[in-house]
């Protein structure tokens, strides 16, 4: 009833005020009638009634404040009044909005990045059920690791594929390159090698055709692929997929089974696959090469802890069975002590997350401090303005406006400014965070992140706006209504009532600003210093003018006895190119992230070491400094246990 009345009476302020006036007028008239009946003259009667009644305007304000319908109406009036104020002082409004835009925009930009890298779930069905299987504590550099996501060898995967009670489905994947196009103008695109259940466990619905299924895991020859949406659109012209759709990949005609939906980019947050192809099981899988990443979907009722418990009890048998050949007994012992565990994988995997997580948090904290400084600044501005408005406020209060009403208008002004700032800030956040992503890009490694404003980002911007509004709006508003109207009026045009107190507040704010600025300044100087250190650090090897080419010898079908000569030939050919100083071959490029480790025993001492095959010119081309030359004294070639 009450609410209904309120809504009905919206827009009828004038009528309701008129009614209140009429009611109060009738009251006065009756009062005068009574006075006259008691023997007063008309003038006396009117004077007495007015004296007893007090200010009619103040009275009307007080009565109409009780009518909630007018509450909503007067809110609109306040908004209009605030807008009028902004139009009247465009400079002030512009400065405030611009400051807030930058402050909120910068915060939102960082938050958007944080959201894309860490918070957002993979675009798959029920991502919170996904779990990644890993060796608890990693493989300690034992054996060969293809990439930082690789933590399963083929035999391990084969074992776990047969025993996965906690999971309704399980799959393995790894990244790889696929060579597409004619041999003489081919290029490499991002490949994603997946086991048969990959798409069904993730719950991906094909956009076109079908996706990879268990029966596709046939030979190790690439024969069928699934294209990503972006690849299909840009490289295949978005043509409909039929049973005869093929592309040229790895020098053969390969059937394209289907296309994944646009939202699916793979498992790695920050990169995007182009072609997915089925895994194959080589006839003699190697037990020391870690190549796969394994994930599963938890069955209902299974938690990560319970699944980890299951995997823990499975591990002794699994690692005993899959131990690689040709390793020392200590290394095998270490291998057999590995234990598997399940980790949440609903947000995918990402080296960006591992590398930049804390940096992003620090950045967010820094931009938060900047916003705080901006707020303190704006609060001071508002205070300065409030002192100008003191007189106006005093007059309004004297006329019967309640303190709450004035407070509301003052807060409303701040809220409007903050809203404008937040809207514009959310707008500039996207380009800002794209710039940030681009600055993280390296030439060999483009970062593909979906930067978009989802509900979390919008919520963040709204929260930022509300808190800034509270910080910079409340204090000036409270201050402006705290002064006694009479005192404000008495001090004349300048309206500097409560002088000392106000200045102490401003002083406190300036102190806060300077303090926070000092923190930021120190942080920035340290950052510049670290940046300089990074730029000038001497890694001991050559850093510039190096070009890396990757050769996939297995796919070239070169006879084993000719391979060494062929490699030498390539090196010589490259060295013969004008402008090339030197050329060398290696299996693992320095700083590339791949690794190959062994334990070295020297007498009774042992410890893990990283290995790579190199051609004779490797050290001279990378300009490694030689600490001590031992080749002349002991020229016996090094042998390894590894076959």
């Amino acid at each position: 009833m009450g609410l209904f009345r309120r809504i009905l009476s919206l827009g009828r302020r004038a009528r309701m005020e008129h009614e209140i006036d009429a009611e109060l007028h009738a009251h006065m008239a009756m009062c005068i009638d009574q006075n006259m009946a008691e023997g007063m003259s008309r003038e006396e009667a009117e004077r007495d009634a007015r004296l007893r009644f007090g200010s009619p305007t103040a009275m009307r304000e007080r009565v109409s404040a009780e009518d909630a319908a007018l509450g909503i109406e007067s809110l609109w009036l306040d908004v209009r009044a605030a807008l009028r104020v902004f139009v009247k002082s465009p400079g002030f409004s512009l400065v405030v909005v611009a400051t807030l835009t930058l402050g909120i925009g910068a915060n939102t930009a960082i938050f958007e990045l944080l959201d894309a890298v860490r918070l957002r779930a993979l675009p798959v069905a029920k991502p919170n059920e996904l779990a990644e299987l890993r060796i608890d504590g990693g493989n300690h550099g034992l054996g060969v690791s293809d990439s930082q996501y690789a933590n399963f060898t083929v035999p391990m995967w084969q074992e776990v594929k047969e025993h996965h009670d906690p999971f309704s489905g399980i799959f393995a994947w790894r990244t790889g390159d696929v060579q597409v196009g004619n041999p003489n103008q081919s290029r490499r695109v991002n490949g994603l090698e997946v086991s048969g259940d990959f798409f069904s466990v993730l719950g991906i619905v094909p956009l076109q055709g079908r996706l990879i299924e268990p029966q596709d895991e046939t030979g190790c020859q690439l024969s069928r692929v699934v294209a990503s949406y972006s690849y299909w659109k840009s490289q295949m012209g978005g043509e409909p997929i039929t049973a005869h759709t093929t592309i040229l990949a790895e020098r053969r005609s390969v059937q394209v089974l289907g296309v994944t939906p646009p939202s699916f980019f793979g498992i790695i947050v920050g990169s995007r696959f182009d072609l997915a192809y089925p895994t194959c099981t080589p006839p003699h899988p190697r037990g020391e090469v870690f190549s796969y990443s394994v994930m599963g979907r938890l069955k209902p009722g299974w938690t990560l802890e319970r699944a980890s418990g299951y995997l823990y009890s499975l591990s002794p048998g699994l690692f005993a069975k899959t131990a690689p050949d040709g390793y020392s007994s200590e290394e095998l012992k270490a291998f057999k002590e590995f234990r598997l565990a399940a980790y949440a994988a609903g947000a995918g995997v990402s080296y960006l997350r591992d590398q930049y997580n804390s940096s992003l948090e620090i950045l967010l904290a820094i931009t938060g401090l900047v916003l705080l400084i901006a707020c303190a600044n704006l609060a001071n501005l508002m205070l300065a303005r409030a002192s100008v408005k003191n007189r106006e406020i005093a007059i309004r209060m004297a006329l019967g406006a309640s303190r709450g009403r004035i407070l509301r208008q003052s807060l409303l002004e701040s809220a409007l400014l903050a809203t404008c700032g937040a809207l514009l800030g959310a707008g500039v956040a996207q380009p800002l965070s794209r710039i940030l992503v681009r600055s993280l890009d390296t030439s060999g490694n483009t970062i593909q992140l979906a930067i978009m404003a989802d509900w979390r980002v919008l919520l963040f911007a709204a929260a930022a706006a509300i808190s800034t509004c509270l910080i910079f709006g409340t204090l000036p508003a409270l201050r402006s209504t705290a002064a006694e109207p009479v005192a404000s009026l008495k001090t004349g045009e300048r309206g500097v009532a409560g002088n000392r107190e106000r200045f102490s507040v401003q002083r406190a704010m300036v102190i806060t600003q300077i303090a926070v600025s000092m923190v930021l300044l120190a942080g920035a100087l340290l950052f510049v210093r670290s940046y300089r250190n990074l730029m000038t650090i001497n890694p001991g090897i050559r850093e510039s003018g190096i070009t890396v080419g990757y050769f996939g010898f297995p796919s070239m079908h070169i006879k084993a006895e000719n391979l060494a000569a062929y490699k030498r030939q390539i090196e010589d050919d490259v060295r013969a190119i004008p402008g090339i100083e030197n050329a060398a071959a290696t299996t693992i490029v320095p700083f590339s992230g791949a690794s190959w480790g062994h334990t070295i025993e020297v007498g009774s001492l042992d410890g893990p070491s990283r290995f790579t095959y190199v051609s004779p010119s490797f050290f001279s081309s990378w300009e490694f400094r030689c600490l001590r030359d031992v080749t002349s004294r002991r020229a016996t070639p090094m042998t390894t246990h590894w076959s």
């Binding site: 009345r5 009611e23 009251h27 008239a29 009756m30 009565v63």
Partner: protein, 108 residues
Amino acid sequence: MAKNDLQGALDLLILKTLSQLGSMHGYGIVMHIRRVSDELLIVEEGSLYPALHRMEQNGWVRASWAITDFGRKAKWYALTRAGREQLTSREKNWTQVVKGVDAILRFA
């Protein structure tokens, strides 16, 4: 105990007056309270009208325009069913407050 005793008392006075007179305008309510209390209680207009409008918003009283005995047009208020329920509970509350205050005053 009522949260705001003074305001609670004013509401109680207005509700009781309306229940005794059936229907009355603001001025009549002031005069009635003054007369019945032997000029001990004088309700100020500045409190009366906001209270009446609040009660109207809450649905305790309903208002209509009518002509007074002296030929003036005025807004007349009357209790609704919710208003009567409110009066009963406020009366009970008031007796308890009085009893409590009395007990404190008489404590020796």
